[in-house]
């Protein structure tokens, strides 16, 4: 079975998405609109909603782009764990994945928020571990300058290890709550973690017992080498692995191939590339939707957007000429999206206009466009070709895009036996087909901490 998550971005995944007549009228701090999307996703028995996030307002130095609000700018967002805790109250089964950064947060705080969310949601919480690729976020956290990639990933690895130890602080049966004897808890069923590392010193234990799914599911998204290594070592699921089917097949094999050296089997991690879906009752409908959205972006805005993604001012260049020849795809600290765009433009000999027109519909990711059957064909092809274990669906317009996916594509996937007809488990870990993680308390460990 395929796994499907979706990104409930209220402005849609296309830069022109929020302007479409069928888009939400108000997508700023609108809980009701957000709930509507998650309930649509739950109706489609999707595994999870996945909330990308950052900790800074981006592109204030590019007023035209800033004013247009491109989909990953996120100038006004709920804090994700509070949002999804609220949403847990109006949903029953769907997984809830929130982003938190290991670069500017503390392991104790992250362990606590996500464990709390897992208890609140009855085992549906996921943590998308990011190191924060938007350099300027650092300026909101006492750093004078961006934090380098190597430093971010070294910290991320230790951060993850501390969080997992904290999640395993208590035995599941520690809280006996025996009114007769007055023993609320068993002091032998908990211990400090006493972590003394290079980046963190954390005593523990966490002030929360193990969570309904053992511990929250951990997502990652990194496509750099250190990012892939970290995912191969620790991630339960991964967002994105490439932008074309060939890329994804290569990345899938690459990342899963790295798992063995960490003692893991390939099925212990699900790879769910992000795809933008433009679906219609007919192929013409899908095409029309696509064209309408492309038409909502002026060339000036398209160039601004591309300038931002490739980190070079392209505004004075010929729209129908190529990207500057000296634009190197590999730069220190550059994003994988940047690399992808530059390589694609060069490979396919694209003009500036053609480049932004390719990038806009899916923020650089793959686009599946057509009838439900055509979209399902592509999904099935990728899935059976080991390009993906499933997908993270990005809808160009919300809530229409997500509704169309659930109403048109999901039934087709179900008919083909590729996707569940109803939820079969109650936890996100269960939906993803992942096993309960090991615990020092339920499995005999050589050195059981704190149980002396």
């Amino acid at each position: 079975m395929m796994n499907l998550a979706c990104i409930p971005n209220m402005v849609g995944a296309h830069l022109g998405g929020w302007r479409h007549p069928e888009a939400f009228e108000n997508s700023v701090m609108n809980l009701q609109a957000f709930v509507e999307m998650v309930q649509i996703a739950e109706r489609g028995t999707l595994d999870a909603v996945f909330l990308a996030d950052g900790n800074g307002v981006r592109d204030m130095d590019r007023p035209a782009l800033f004013a247009a609000n491109f989909p990953s700018a996120r100038p006004a967002m709920f804090e994700p764990t509070t949002l999804l805790s609220a949403v847990a109250m109006v949903t029953q089964r769907i997984g809830l994945v929130a982003t938190a950064t290991s670069t500017f947060d503390e392991p104790w705080m992250v362990a606590r928020r996500f464990a709390s969310m897992d208890h609140i949601s009855g085992g549906r919480a996921g943590w998308n571990l990011v190191t924060a690729s938007n350099a300027d976020d650092a300026l909101n956290f006492n750093h004078g300058e961006p934090v380098g990639r190597e430093q971010r990933y070294a910290r991320a690895q230790e951060f993850y290890e501390v969080v997992v130890k904290l999640w395993d602080s208590w035995a599941p049966d520690a809280f006996v709550q025996d009114k007769a004897s007055g023993r609320y808890l068993d002091p032998t069923r908990v211990g400090p973690i006493d972590h003394q590392g290079e980046h963190f010193q954390v005593k523990g234990p966490l002030s929360l017992p193990p969570t309904p799914q053992g511990r929250p599911v951990v997502f990652m998204a990194g496509q750099s080498i250190p990012g892939m290594e970290l995912a191969a070592r620790y991630a339960d699921a991964m967002f994105g692995a490439g932008s074309t089917k060939a890329d994804c097949i290569a990345a899938y094999a690459d990342i899963k191939g790295r798992m063995a050296k960490y003692g893991r089997t390939p099925d212990q991690m699900k790879i769910l590339p992000g795809v933008s879906v433009y679906v219609g009752q007919t192929a013409e409908d899908a095409e029309r939707l696509y064209e309408t959205l492309q038409g909502l972006i002026s060339p000036a805005l398209g160039v601004h957007y591309l300038s931002k993604q490739v980190e070079r001012d392209l505004e004075d260049l010929d729209l129908d000429g190529p990207l500057p020849a000296d634009l190197a795809s590999e730069t220190v600290g550059g994003s994988s999206l940047r690399r992808y765009i530059i390589d694609m433009a060069r490979r396919d000999n694209l003009t500036i206009r053609q480049t932004y027109e390719r990038v806009l519909p899916a923020i650089g990711g793959p686009v599946f466009k057509g009838t439900a059957s055509q979209v399902a064909d592509e999904m099935e092809d990728w899935y059976t070709s080991k390009a993906a274990d499933g997908f993270t669906i990005m809808a160009p317009i919300q809530p229409r895009g997500l509704r169309d996916f659930v109403d048109l594509v999901v039934p087709e996937l179900r008919r083909r036996g590729l996707f569940r007809k109803a939820y079969e488990t109650t936890t996100l870990r269960g939906h993803l087909g992942l096993a309960e993680p090991p615990s020092q308390w339920t499995q005999p460990a050589p050195a059981q901490r704190g149980a002396a």
Partner: protein, 453 residues
Amino acid sequence: MMNLLVSGGAIGGHLAGWRHPDSFSSTAMQLDCMVEIATLAEQGGLDAMFLADGNAVRQMDKPALFAANSPSDRPAVFEPVTLFAALSQHTRHLGFVATATTSYEEPFAIARKFASLDHLSGGRAAWNLVTTQYVEDSKNFGREQHFGREERYERARESLDVVRSLWDSWAADAFVQDKSTGQYLDPSRVRLTSHRGTHFAVKGPLNVGRSPQGQPVVFMAGQSEAGKELAAYGADALFGAASGKEEARREYADIKGRMAKYGRDPASLRILPGLAVYVGRTAAEADALFDELQALIPPALAVTYLSKIIGMDVTQAPLDGPLPTGSQGQALGGTAIGRSVLDMAAREGLTVRQSYERILPSMSGNMVKGTPSQVADELEDWYCSEACDGFVLSMPVEPRSLRDFVELIVPELRRRGVRPPSYQGRTLRENLGLTHPADPFSASLHVPAGKSA
């Protein structure tokens, strides 16, 4: 109007509360219990629910006390802001006061989560600013030693300024979302915080739109000199620790008297002492509840608990001898609650046993016991004597005590006209009798960064 908040988690405010037959049978990570408490509080028209918090599991070196789970230990609790986000979906009027520490959290993260909660709840969020008094919390954040008091309060003030400035990042009308022109937001209606201070450097703006209350309400609880000064400077509400009406009157005058030098109106700070309530339909019923709970605490446990509260080991002292007062230095370095217990014991010549019998029912705070009319008399008396603007109520046994309060005392207070018949405001600020801070972008006003209007 008198403000009323309910504090505490599902285990109740008395050390033996969770053992009482009328308490919840299971409370560890039981969301249903918290939903029931919030729902009851809202039925009673209470202004808000208040949750103390910390960032460590306490008393692991005292296994007997640890196993008994005293009300301030919190070994298994929800992270407060996520919990309140969830509870906000089960309620419509009740405010939510969540604790976050300026010692170990970043101003950006604090500003963001409380602004988010304010949006999710439609204007019912409050931040209880603490500097963290339990020193061991530091060990979960890479510090062998907690910050010293002076540094903690300096950080707190700077953090508060930054958080408020971040909350003022966006004009309420910044997000025009004009589909026809493609203008989603107005870049001239947002501002940077650009803070470079001693403890924090934060550029801003916040990535959350202006919240329904303009700014979430800011609570504090400090009773030290530095704490009082910070409250006078920047709190919207204060969880008071004064013990007894006379002390409460002095503190009330003292703290409100400090506000003028910060250009603040005394009415813009609500002072709300903690109060444990033991109510019964008859005085005998209230006494019975009280005695049942006291009887559930063995002396050994009680003495350990007392030792913890006063920050001094008195487990070896004779139960019926005087409470050792320790050195002056020790008392000065302890918590406000610890000092008030030592003062009380010295003043009244209490034994060890008498001391713990006094503090157990109310966690060393104030206590009232009796019929609905007797309890209402006491509340009204404090309120009308300028000892407080209301109370943060501690409920010995949950959910029984809160239910009793709502069914027995709330109607009495309403009859007397000190509580409104129903919620009067749309937001927590309004229900607390506070104004909404002005939008700094509104043309006619100039609000300096970091100050509430």
